[in-house]
Amino acid sequence: MKYRNHSHFNRRKFLYGAGGSVMALPWLETVAVEGATTKPKEPSLRFASFYSPMGFVRDHFFPEKDSQDFLSMPTLSPLKKVGDKVTLITGLSRVNVRGVDVHNQCSSCYLSSADPHGPLKSVYPMDRTLDHLIADQVSHRTPIRSLELNCNTFKDLKESIYLDNISWYGPEHVATSIKDPRHVYQTLFKTGKSDKDITDLILQDASNFQKNLNHHDRDKLDEYFTSVREVERQIEKLNTYYKTHQKADIQEPGDAPMTRGEYIRLMGKMLVLAFQGDLTHVATFMLAPERWGTPQLYHELNFTKSHHGLTHAQGQERVKKMLVQVDRFYVELFAEVLEQLEAVQEGEGTLLDHSMITLGSGLGDGEHHTMNELPIIVAGSANGQIKTGRVLHCPENTPLANLWLSQAQLMGTGLERFADSTGPLKGLLG
């Protein structure tokens, strides 16, 4: 029996907690500004973080030290069309907490990168993730606070919640991700009917109920309160939104079977539309879950293999060849999203210019479980602030948290520290 000290985490106000100033700007004001004849406001920044599990084969991903020619690397060459808007960052690392499972940490701690030497708030060094810290700040701008997309289609669901989620409100409090494209469609493009009769009643019921509960359970009930209110708020905001906005030109996904590529592409397409239409400005996107020993059918690559299995056997040339194909497959799909963002003109730039889209992994090397030299690409210049089209070589073992801190700052959170950061990432801004 292993004893673990779960320190108490306050779940209260998990949606609008840390940032504090919810609705500082009423959302309608921004709409009004857009419609006004005065000089348009600076476009809003969009933030998305894509996750690919178990790292990338390094010698196909990273160019030689000091080289800037990342676009000729086999895995990264699909980025060519938008290469001048992409930054490859080397030298980023995280610290693995020993004694607990590596893969679980890779995904569940990727975006929080909590201080591994600090007190553990759960089994793993988890914390509120970057996307939610940012959403705290910017969600007043959009009807949907944030979007958590996940392209895990495994039927067996045998693995833990940590491997399947990169977005967390806090330790042990997962931000439920959406895997079903139709569900994503309905979230974004259907307004839904407010069920005020019922929600008013149950909120009153809940506040009576709260009196019967102890401290810990009240926090749990707060998840409920906040969730019910958020559902109502979202419906209200979407209804207002669609009074002045056109529905995006996309059909509701049907039942027809899709290939792996088609499925991820569709999820990506909806993300682009969500950003384009200002439905949300914050998203996470899991291309596939971490570890998961289950074989995956890659229709486009014409084989069924366990991605995890491949990474461990990459010492064999034959296996490595397949693994590189998987790596490239995911980068291609990522590149397609970037190209779509690039194709949307917005003011004087493109949607991609007004975004900060990261693709990365929580493992540096899937064969050896190392968390140094993490593969990280940042696309979009965040409105001209990030210098793109290059490789940013960072010193070895630069904390990943430094990049997250920079991103949090670029998104306007005003944070000065992020987990084990030692400062904003040097050289990121141009």
Binding site: M1, K2, Y3, R4, H6, L15, G99, D101, V102, S122, R145, F154, K155, D156, L157, K158, E159, S160, I161, D164, E172, H173, V174, T176, S177, T187, D195, D197, I198, T199, L201, I202, Q204, D205, A206, N208, F209, K211, N212, L213, N214, H216, D217, K220, L221, Y224, S227, V228, E230, V231, G293, T294, P295, Q314, G315, Q316, E367, H368, H369, T370
Partner: protein, 871 residues
């Protein structure tokens, strides 16, 4: 009787350890005498004197009192000693006597430490997972169908085999596999109701863990949607067996009473030449579901007239037993015509040659069928009601004849002639003029009473007046708006289903709820054993404050274990305990292991795993239903196998026909004398899911045995684990077995510790190939070596010896199993402090030979679960 003595013992045991703990002075000297010399000799150097390895400084402690402030450290020391991890292999070792003596004293010390620091860990509120939610909704309304069909529940029962009250599993069970089988998810369920996503299990745990079951806007949306879609599902009314107690408009007689029945004399069975059912109908709604006009139940000889949809046809239907079988025939009718609010005449006849259907005097369908009418029953023919298929609207002048009337006769009846064929008229029914009931109470008052009763069940404890008012006032508002009693009640029910009191499994601390501790216990019991809400009996006992009485509690546990709802426990606990979902994704290489697949290709074809998966689950259910010792999960003299599986184990599967019935699979109880089989461990399911595409994976198997059987999941592997390179080709070239290869690999000191523990567990199973079949030799021709040593003390040669070794360590297995059960029952991860409870439960259960029910009962009545002193 025996039980109450046992409880006395338990209390005494707790008390005695408390007294010991209260007097540490007595044992303080003991520390220096008993263990300090040994620690000095073997541990101090690294842990305090010269170094402080692993942040452990043993030199700090000079008395039991000191040491007992850190129960976790004592736990660590015990673990290290038990596993022979400390002192490290290359250091000087204490003698076996010294080691045992250390362990004995440390264990005592740990118990003292835990008891003195003991607090009952309160139960935390958590939301239901989707399995529980489906069960709770089903039980709340006593539904005659599933709420939604989910793969969480693997075994589909096709012949009602699961009857725990009989204490016996039938010899033949007809089952399907929902998650791997063909069309097993197509079953009777609420239409248009979507489940929320499955909750993943905790690592080495279960999917009912409080810390994992949190709430988010995305999930809340699903819950809100469910709360509406459940009660408004097209087929909800029909399947709701508690309809009359909740939704039925009290001013109207329920269908069953509103319409009477037709009683006939014996001439029906002796003198019938055919049958005619003639009726006047005025339906108030025409949905797709069947509405009964008249029906007499008599198995396949039943006779009926009804409207509704079957397949593509919405129409008028007649059914009767003819020439030894049930014949049903329908003629298309436009539901709009028949539902236009006017009276219509309908009839069905059978005259020995033809079945004819009539609408308003016109023949609308005819089916030739020659034969004698099978007409034995003289039971009354019920009007307008049959189970969940009541008639909505009005019926009148229903007539039953013992001959098939002619076209002309039917026309005359439709025109209003009452005198037609009076000689064969055997009975009739006419509508009462006074359909509306006189209410003794105002209608709202009736509604409010029903709501109070319903909320008690949905909320698992009585709601306070303020809360109750919220719901009753909501009813009043809705009723005043629409005047539709049933719909207003449905709105109230929707709100109830969205309430946190329903969605969460909660323990209220408020003393304002009378007998709250009893209600909390009822909820825990029903979550543990039924994965659902408490039923009326539990709630009634809780309301009287009786549930915490040991005898009452034991009686209830017995009742619950005999109730069919306990299938939920088997469906939820067993697959998770066995990690059986791993079999879904097991993929033996399609090219080299073609016989694992039924046909097609590796993407679309069905796998033998579909059958395999059911074997250990059925064996678990047998141990459960028949209250056998849990050791039979390791070694049993029976197993359940399909024909296909039997052949498979005999290596004859390749000859099996491709077109097997994939839906209804008969599993037969098979007595075993061959101890290589039986129990759960050596089943094909476990062997396949712990193998890779090309070979068995001994480490994975060892890890499975360690986690599942001994509840001791290995630490995660260190980084830098190189690939084993143990594919057939490499092994052939090197002339090594996997075992020899692995030995090279794990001789590395860093890995040796763990591998010493898990490797023997995995290699014990090495005689089963990756498809679960016995082999003496590898494909390379080299002999399989399955020998080893369990816990460093029981040598074994092969898997039978291994089973013997596990049985020899039955207390270890039992404790491990109890820990799994307890963690599941408490909905949380166990901590070191729970060790006392586990030991006590095991000790008690041992007296009953570790029988399954004794184990479960001892958990439930133990203070850790029952929490009688809860305040």
């Amino acid at each position: 009787m025996k039980r109450s003595i046992m409880n006395g013992l338990l209390v005494a045991l707790l008390l005695s350890s408390i007294t010991q703990a209260a007097d540490p002075a007595k044992s303080a000297d003991d520390f220096k005498l008993r263990i300090k010399p040994i620690l000095e000799n073997y541990c101090y150097d690294c842990h305090g004197r010269k170094e402080t390895k692993g942040k452990v400084k043993l030199t700090e402690f000079s008395s039991w009192k000191d040491l007992e402030k850190s129960p976790q450290l004592i736990g660590k020391m015990i673990e290290a000693l038990e596993n022979n991890e400390m002192p490290p292999e290359d250091e000087k070792q204490p003698s076996e006597t010294q080691r045992q003596s250390l362990l004995t004293h440390l264990n005592k010390s740990l118990n003292r430490s835990l008891v003195s620091n003991q607090k009952l860990i309160p139960f935390r509120m958590r939301r239901m997972n989707r399995f529980e939610y489906g069960n709770a909704v089903r039980d709340l309304f006593d539904l005659d169908c599933w709420v939604y069909s989910i793969g969480d529940r693997i075994i589909r029962d096709h012949n009602h085999y699961f009857r725990p009250e009989t204490g016996k599993m039938p010899d033949v069970v007809r089952v399907g596999n929902r998650i791997m089988g063909l069309q097993q998810m197509l079953e009777n369920r609420l239409l248009g109701v979507m489940a929320f996503p499955k909750d993943p299990p905790a690592e080495n745990g279960f999917n009912n863990r409080g810390d994992h079951l949190s709430m988010s806007p995305v999930l809340m949306k699903s819950f809100l949607k469910l709360s509406r879609s459940v009660v408004n599902a097209e087929n909800f009314d029909k399947n709701c067996r508690s309809w009359n107690d909740l939704f039925q408009d009290p001013t109207k007689k329920p269908a069953a009473q509103r319409f009477g029945s037709i009683t006939t004399d014996a001439s029906v069975s002796t003198r019938s030449t055919g049958v005619t059912i003639s009726a006047w109908i005025r339906p108030s709604k025409t949905t797709d579901r069947w509405q009964t006009i008249a029906r007499r139940e008599d198995s396949w000889r039943r006779q009926l007239l009804a409207i509704g949809r079957t397949g593509d046809t919405w129409g008028l239907w007649m059914g009767a037993g003819i020439a030894g079988r049930y014949v049903e025939f329908g003629a298309s009718v436009n539901p709009k015509t028949i539902g236009d609010g006017k009276w219509h005449h309908v009839a069905g006849t059978f005259d020995g040659k033809q079945m004819n259907l009539y609408l308003d005097g016109k023949q609308i369908g005819s089916k030739a069928i020659e034969g004698k009418l099978n007409n034995q029953s003289t039971q009354p023919m019920k009007i307008g009601s049959y189970g969940g298929e009541p008639f909505h609207g009005d019926l009148n002048n229903i007539r039953l004849y013992r001959s098939g009337l002619s076209k002309i006769q039917m026309k005359r009846i439709a025109d209003g002639d009452q005198q037609v064929a009076k000689d064969t008229l055997v009975g009739s029914w006419k509508k009462d003029d006074d359909v509306d009931l006189k209410l003794e109470q105002p209608i709202k008052q009736i509604a409010h009473q029903r709501i109070a009763k319903f909320l008690l069940k949905a909320f698992k404890s009585p709601a306070d007046q303020t809360t109750l008012n919220l719901y009753t006032e909501f009813f009043d508002r809705q009723y005043e708006k629409g005047g539709d009693f049933a719909q207003s009640m449905k709105d109230v029910v929707s709100a109830t289903l969205a309430s946190p009191r329903f969605i969460f499994v909660h323990n209220e601390t408020s003393k304002s709820v009378p007998n709250h501790a009893s209600f909390n216990l009822a909820t825990r019991l029903s979550s543990f054993l039924w994965s659902s809400i408490p039923d009326n009996e539990l709630l009634a006992l809780a309301g009287e404050g009786k549930l915490q009485d040991t005898q009452v509690l034991e009686g209830q546990v017995d009742r619950m274990l005999n109730h069919r709802r306990v299938k939920n426990f088997c469906d939820s606990f067993a697959p998770q305990w066995l990690k059986i979902n791993n079999l879904v994704s097991a993929s033996p290489d399609f090219k080299s292991h073609r016989d694992y697949y039924f046909g097609g290709d590796d993407k679309i074809s069905y796998k033998r795993g579909m059958h395999m998966m059911l074997e250990p689950l059925l064996n678990f259910e047998t141990v459960f239903v028949e209250d056998r010792p849990i050791l039979e999960l390791v070694d049993s003299d029976f197993t359940y196998r399909s024909h296909l599986l039997t052949e498979w184990y005999q290596g004859r599967a390749a000859t099996y026909p491709i077109n097997v019935n994939l839906r209804h699979i008969d599993f037969t109880r098979t007595p075993l004398t061959d101890r290589r089989y039986g129990g759960v461990i050596t089943t094909g399911a476990v062997m396949v899911m712990t193998s890779g595409p090309f070979r068995s994976l001994p480490i994975t198997r060892g890890s499975w045995v360690s986690s599942v059987i001994f509840n001791d999941p290995p630490e995660p592997p260190p980084d830098n684990v190189p690939d084993l390179k143990a594919d057939d080709k490499t092994l052939q070239e090197e002339g090594l077995t996997v075992r020899q290869k692995l030995k090279q690999h794990s001789s590395n000191a860093q890995c040796a510790g763990c591998h010493k523990k898990i490797d023997p567990l995995g290699f014990a199973l090495e005689n089963y190939d990756l498809l679960g079949r016995w082999r003496d030799n590898y494909r390379t021709g080299l002999r399989v070596d399955a020998s080893g040593k369990l816990f460093g003390k029981h040598d074994f040669k092969d898997v039978i010896g291994f089973k013997d070794a596990v049985l020899a360590e039955k207390d270890v297995f039992a404790k491990a199993f109890i820990k799994h059960l307890l963690s599941y029952g408490l909905g949380r991860e166990l901590t070191l402090a729970d060790r006392i409870a586990v030991d006590e439960i095991a000790k008690e259960s041992r007296k009953d030979d570790y029988k399954m029910r004794a184990v479960i009962k001892n958990i439930v009545i133990h203070p850790i679960f029952a929490q009688r002193n809860e305040e």
